[in-house]
């Protein structure tokens, strides 16, 4: 028995090393720092329409702020997924809604430019005001579903889109500050009568 196992390990050593490495890599991704705190998440169904309300706190690090001042655009993706629970099987995805907002420092104007999830461009003299502007999301239209659907599970995650960072920062595996995201928050939909 042991002989067979050893023979298998010898024959497939590279594959095994690769698999073990991949598992470690995945675990390290899961263990990324959570610097976006989502509060007061509520999903309401009004007829067929789904609306999302939540508050968010962005705890930007000094390095990120420094990056902002150096022309780096911070693009945040909001991923909203609505699933139907199927016992003993994978959940059925009913709705996927993605949106984004941006924070950018305009050196010419010496202001922080914010483009919110509605696409509105707003300028702020200081970062805190910009973040305050982004803090509360109200009545964000996520899409529509069948009225009869009940017990739908919604999940929300906000994360920094690294593809908009300069390439060296994207692929610098040593620097983890750009792994900036929230936890995945889940809620059951509240149906408004």
């Amino acid at each position: 028995m042991m002989g067979c196992i050893m023979k298998f390990l010898k024959k497939n050593s590279i594959v095994i090393i690769f698999l073990v490495g991949s598992v470690f890599y995945s675990l390290s991704s899961i263990a990324a720092v959570k610097n976006i705190i989502v509060n007061n998440l509520s999903i309401t169904q009004d007829g067929k329409d789904i609306f999302v309300d939540f508050d968010q706190e962005l705890y930007l690090t000094s390095k990120m702020i420094d990056g902002l001042k150096n022309g780096i655009v911070l693009v945040f993706d909001i991923n909203f997924i609505l699933t139907r629970d199927i016992p003993y099987w994978f959940d059925d995805i009913i709705l996927v809604k993605k949106s984004r907002y941006k924070i950018k420092y305009r050196n010419l104007l010496e202001k922080f430019e914010v483009i919110d999830i509605n696409g509105e461009k707003v300028f702020f003299k200081d970062l805190q005001a910009a973040l305050k502007h982004l803090k509360t999301i109200k009545k964000w239209y996520a899409g529509n579903v069948n009225e009869k659907e009940k017990n739908l599970l919604a999940s929300l995650r906000i994360q920094l889109n690294k593809n908009h960072l300069p390439k060296p920062l994207q692929i610098n595996i040593k620097d983890k500050i750009w792994d900036f995201q929230s936890k995945e928050i889940t809620r059951y939909i509240e149906v408004n009568n």
Partner: protein, 694 residues
């Protein structure tokens, strides 16, 4: 792919890059593991002294160095070049220029804003001193005069009181309350970007002389920056941002490029080392096989060949030549083994001959060192089973017995000359304890490989000489018997006739004299007859009639003959009857002769006693005659069985010679020795007949 992914965002995502990076790391780890295993195996092979492993190690080191040194140099140069190239992108002058450009844009906007402020104050003052019903018209005139985009008057509730816009179709955007609030007492300006155009927005309170009517009214002025200035300013900002971004990620860029180059270096080196193992093994394999085969051949395995792989290069030729050589070596060895076998057989044959040769053979070198001998050689020289090879003959013989000194001297005299000799022969009389031996020594020299060796041939010719002597004596006896016996009867008859004729013619005195003389003649003639008869018996050719004889009965018969004699004969009868095959009369004659001799030896001995005993020894019968007489002198005892040798004052000296002859005729042996105390013991050995019926 790693290098390409650095420059193009769309080609590979960050995750893909990371996966690629990890795959490279894992690949490197796998290569390191593979190399470690190969090194471990190689070191293990070296430890086990497997042929070819050291050569493989040397080749691996050589190949690896051939790759590592140039690749490392290229790597160092590349890293250095890359770092310097990246650093060269960030020039202080460029940065200053960009900052200057940006600052120029900012200052231009500020000047424009200042200009708007002045225009705004002028409009506010004019409006403040204009009647309410004329304000709209004045506002339009002022806007057109100052070439403004839009001028609006709001109250504190953000209601539009008056409006003038360059684009009448455009609905004015209601300002933020906080903007209005900030301009309660002073001018407040905002610079914004709207639809890729820079917009100057200004707010200021309207101060009116008709205070009650225009209290808490505000003026909003909007002015779009000319597109040329906007484009230039945004372009400078964009370049500045790009530059700052690049500068910010410079460190990461350095790390990534260095890491990528390091990975490439590692991959190149490790791949080269891995391949070097394969190449080294492939290259050293034929040489290893050759070395292993050579080792086998050195151990004597000439059948070892190397599989020819059909390569026509020098190694292939070497393998073919090696196989040809081993084939020839194998054939030569086979021949040598056959020759050796034949030689061995010849040597064994010679050994057998030498072993079975009755003559003793000893081969010595010039230093008289014994090189070869046969058992008979040692037996003849009474050396038993001594180990004498490489020992000096003189020392060996003098150590055992000094009686061989004449022989040693003779050999030494010839060896000393260091000359080749042929057919030298001499006989030596050697006196041992109880008998005399005659040894003939023959010497021949042989030259072998330049060394002179001597072959010594020793023959114990005692028996031959004795036989010849007996034969001579027999011839003498026969002639004597023939020559003497014939005239004896006429002499006796003549003497009796003379006595008979003259007895009555002579006087008494003469008669007595005649009678004594004739009596003496007759007596002497009779004595001569007896002697001649004995001679005749001795010389008579063997003519015996053998029958099965119970030796016990024979001894008792002979013993009975001596009952009247005043000598005690003690006979120890055996437990069982013992038989010999022989001539009863002859054997009786032997016994009588021995008892007579014993009796004669005990003439002056008190309590004379003759002991007769027979013993069974394997296939022989021992007949022992022991007396307590005077014994036999040492001079005589060695030749006692020769004719005319006697210690007695009377007799012919043929008695024991005849006894010896009879015993010889019965295939037996006889020996005589003096006892430790007194007397002699005669031992006769005769073949024993185990089965009476046979």
């Amino acid at each position: 792919m790693l290098a390409k992914s650095l420059g193009n965002t769309d080609l590979l995502s960050t995750e893909t890059f990371r996966l690629l990076f990890i795959f490279n790391i894992l690949f490197i780890a796998a290569l390191v593991l593979l190399i470690a295993i190969q090194i471990f195996r190689l070191l293990n092979s070296i430890k086990k002294e497997i042929v070819g492993s050291k050569l493989t190690l040397r080749l691996v080191i050589s190949f690896a160095l051939m790759v590592i040194i140039p690749v490392s140099i290229v790597y160092l140069v590349s890293v250095n070049f890359l770092t310097k190239s990246i650093n060269s992108w960030f020039d202080v002058k460029v940065e200053s220029a960009l900052e200057g450009g940006l600052s120029l844009g900012q200052k231009t906007l500020n000047i424009l804003m200042r200009d708007i402020e002045l225009k705004g104050r002028s409009i506010a003052y004019t409006i403040g001193n204009t009647a309410t019903n004329e304000q709209g018209m004045v506002l339009r005139d002022m806007r057109e005069k100052f070439n403004l985009e839009e001028v609006v008057i709001y109250d504190n509730q953000l209601n539009i009181l008056a409006l003038s816009s360059a684009n009448d179709s455009q609905i004015p955007v209601i300002p933020k309350y906080e903007d209005i609030e900030r301009s309660t007492n002073e001018f407040y300006g905002v610079i914004e970007e709207v639809n890729e155009r820079i917009l100057l927005r200004a707010y200021l309170p309207i101060i009116s002389n008709q205070e009650i009517e225009l209290r808490n009214t505000f003026l909003e002025i909007k002015q779009l920056i000319p597109s040329e200035i906007t484009n230039l300013a945004l372009s400078v900002e964009s370049v500045y941002d790009d530059y700052k971004r690049l500068a910010y990620s410079r460190k990461s860029l350095n790390i990534i490029y260095t890491l990528t180059l390091t990975l490439v270096l590692m991959l190149a080196i490790l791949s080269a080392v891995s391949i070097s193992f394969v190449i080294s093994r492939r290259f050293s394999e034929p040489l290893s096989q050759l070395a292993a085969a050579t080792k086998e051949i050195s151990k004597g395995n000439f059948k070892k060949t190397i599989p020819e792989q059909g390569k026509k290069d020098e190694l292939g030729l070497l393998v073919t030549s090696f196989n040809s050589m081993t084939k020839q070596l194998d054939s030569a060895t086979q021949n040598a083994e056959n020759n050796q076998h034949r030689l061995e057989l010849s040597r064994m044959f010679l050994d057998t001959i030498l072993t079975n040769l009755s003559s003793g053979v000893i081969v010595i070198d010039q230093g008289m060192r014994i090189r070869l001998h046969n058992p008979a050689g040692l037996k003849t020289l009474q050396l038993g089973r001594a180990k004498v090879i490489n020992k000096i003959l003189g020392e060996v013989l003098s150590k055992n017995n000094k009686i061989y000194k004449p022989i040693v001297d003779y050999i030494y005299s010839h060896v000393k000359g260091k000359n080749t000799i042929k057919g030298f022969s001499q006989e030596f009389k050697i006196k041992t304890n109880d008998k005399e031996k005659i040894i003939r020594v023959q010497m021949n020299s042989i030259k072998q490989d330049g060394d002179l060796n001597y072959i010594l041939l020793f023959d114990d010719i005692t028996e031959v000489t004795e036989g010849q002597r007996h034969q001579a004596w027999s011839e003498v006896a026969r002639r004597l018997a023939h020559e003497i016996k014939n005239p004896l009867t006429p002499i006796q008859l003549s003497a009796e006739r003379v006595e008979h004729k003259l007895k009555n013619k002579l006087n008494k005195v003469d008669k007595n004299i005649l009678s004594k003389a004739t009596h003496t003649i007759i007596n002497q003639v009779n004595a001569l007859k007896i002697m001649v008869n004995e001679f005749s018996d001795y010389a008579r050719p063997a003519k015996i009639e053998k029958t099965l004889i119970n030796i016990d009965l024979l001894i008792n018969d002979v013993k009975d003959l001596y009952e009247a004699v005043d000598i005690e004969i003690n006979y120890e009868q055996p437990q069982k009857n013992l038989f010999v095959h022989g001539d009863e009369n002859k054997l009786r004659q032997v016994l009588v002769n021995l008892i007579d001799n014993a009796k004669d030896a005990m003439n002056n001995v008190n309590n004379p006693l003759i002991n007769l005993r027979i013993e069974e020894h394997k296939n022989e019968l021992y007949l022992i005659v022991k007396d307590n007489g005077t014994g036999v002198s040492k001079d005589v005892i060695s030749n006692i069985f020769e004719p005319y040798v006697t210690s007695k004052s009377h007799g012919t000296g043929l008695g024991l010679a005849i006894v010896l002859k009879i015993i010889d005729e019965h295939n037996g042996t006889i020996s005589i020795k003096n006892n430790k105390g007194v007397g002699t013991t005669v031992l006769i050995k005769l073949p024993l007949i185990k089965n009476e019926k046979s």
